[in-house]
């Protein structure tokens, strides 16, 4: 229970809640509302040996893999979908063995998080048996159901050490509002020992209740106001997915580890003192206002993705 009256802090203080070796749940999904500014700051702070858990992810996990911060990857998907395909840094790290592969599936993750938030040692499931996920997860057990005689898989509770979220609004007390699909963020918040969030805009409680409280304050450890904190992923209604920047990322990553370090990590992470620097490095106000043009018309929206 996180009961401080004022949860606000700087981005670097926020990220200091992540410890080396932590089991980390990253909010958002695919190209939507990923807490990338917090991840860039984690990389700058040298966090490492993370165990990442999640459902469908992309640039967030790939970036951490590319920066050498990851020991174990336990997502259900890491890639760039039909847009760019496979995740280059993630692949390299998995195939080299520097990242241990513990792939999961969406509902398995959901049920493991639910077990944690319900204080149960496990959740039973019908699926997973018969697949090779049983080999990747020797910790899964099976039982015969005393009601039906069916064989069930028991997946153990999963309590991440930290959930890292990016949300549109919060109040100083730490109540969070998520606009649009929460993906697994609410499940993460309820199951995790700590929840840290970057926020587009911190507003008064009176304003926040107009939007609605998606995650109550007492789950939340700390918040930092970081506008454009999800860039280059989308954070509607503020900004759409930055396909142009992501293409640049992908090309750098695809060419190899060195190229990624030189052409991406250096200019956009290590040589940016902070998030303000980063926003300048990606093109500043001009680039950012471009990402808000989706609101003008379907044609303008389309143009972002051509």
């Amino acid at each position: 229970m996180h009961i401080q009256d004022d949860k606000r802090c700087s981005l670097s203080e926020l990220v200091a809640h992540i410890r080396n070796g932590d089991c980390v749940a990253i909010g958002g999904g695919l190209s939507w509302r990923e807490p990338i500014a917090a991840l860039r700051e984690s990389i700058r702070q040298g966090v490492n040996a993370l165990k990442l858990v999640g459902s469908a992810h992309g640039i967030d996990v790939d970036l951490l893999c590319g920066a050498g911060c990851v020991a174990v990857s336990a997502q259900s998907y890491v890639g760039f979908e039909q847009d760019f395909g496979m995740a280059p840094n993630y692949r390299r790290a998995c195939e080299a063995g520097s990242v241990t592969i513990k792939d999961s599936c969406c509902y398995t993750l959901v049920q493991q998080l639910r077990a944690a938030s319900q204080g149960l040692p496990f959740m039973p499931m019908r699926s997973v048996q018969g697949s090779d996920f049983m080999k990747l997860h020797p910790e899964f057990k099976t039982m015969l159901c005393p009601f039906t005689g069916d064989k069930l898989v028991l997946v153990p509770a999963l309590q991440p050490d930290v959930a890292i979220l990016h949300v549109q609004y919060a109040d100083p007390h730490g109540n969070l509002h998520i606009d649009g699909p929460p993906v697994a963020d609410i499940l993460f918040a309820k199951a995790s020992a700590k929840v840290i969030a970057t926020v587009e805009k911190i507003i008064s409680h009176e304003e926040l209740v107009q939007f609605g409280v998606t995650i109550p304050y007492f789950y939340v450890t700390a918040i930092a106001e970081v506008p454009y904190g999800a860039h280059p992923t989308a954070c509607y209604p503020f900004y759409a997915y930055d396909r142009e920047h992501t293409a640049r990322y992908y090309q750098a990553a695809k060419q190899g580890a060195n190229s990624f370090a030189d052409q991406y990590l250096k200019p956009f992470v290590y040589e940016c003192w902070d998030h303000v620097d980063y926003l300048a490095a990606i093109g500043g106000a001009e680039q950012l206002s471009r990402l808000a043009q989706w609101q003008n018309s379907t044609e303008d929206w389309l143009k972002l993705y051509e």
């Binding site: 695919l30 939507w32 259900s76 039909q82 599936c105 209604p237 389309l302 993705y305």
Partner: protein
Amino acid sequence: MIYQIARSIEDGILAFHGFGSPLVQLALHLAKHSHAPRLILVAGATYGVNPKPAFLTPTTNDFAMNRAAECQLSIEELFDLAASGHLGRMFLSGLQIDCWGNMNVTGLGQYDRFSLKLPGGGGGCNLSADASHITIWTAAHRTPLDGQGRRRYRLVKQCDFTTSVGHRTTDGMPRSTMPYRGKGPDCIVTDLGVFGFNADGHAELQQVYPDTFAELVAEHTEFDVPVSANLVTATLPDTEIVEFIRRLDPLKIHERELSQADRRRYFALNGSH
């Protein structure tokens, strides 16, 4: 292919298109627009119900895909619906697909040290057990010969890793021995033809396209291909359907799923002129 996938979708069921599957997204919207108006269409990644997408986007979790959704589910609610027997059909693909409908999107090589790590299966493993019916699809059935005259088959004898389960596990366990809700895959829609499954749960070629034939399918398939006694040529979509797809996908996102050669394939359509 979009049309063939759409034809597998019954009216009145709940179906979900997942993410990274533009062909399936288009097929679901096409089905709802045509023969399945009461389809409960759940958008992948956003979990919006019956949205009216502005246009098909390059990534799935985009507000443009969720526009005007009638209501919203959450990730857990969609999977709960599947686990309780309410997801009528799911659409799965794989880099490897075997004759029983098992699929691999996890990795090639040994599971404890993959030589090629694939992105992973999302919720496919769970849904292959829970969804009432599965449509398997791949746009890469046709596989080129390499320098040594070998193919890296998409339809394989055996998957290196079983990400999602078909009618019989790689250990030979029939699906019926497991307490799955769903009945498993009932078709494989590919760029070369459409398979059904016989009573043993083995894939069987049932349809080819005007420019494909059973021998071609067999040539590009690693497992032996039984051919249905009633092999037919697949019905083609009419121009209205093609126009619908073009309108919904102005960025031609779905063509990214297709090979260079397939993008140039052309069929004379009913009503075209």
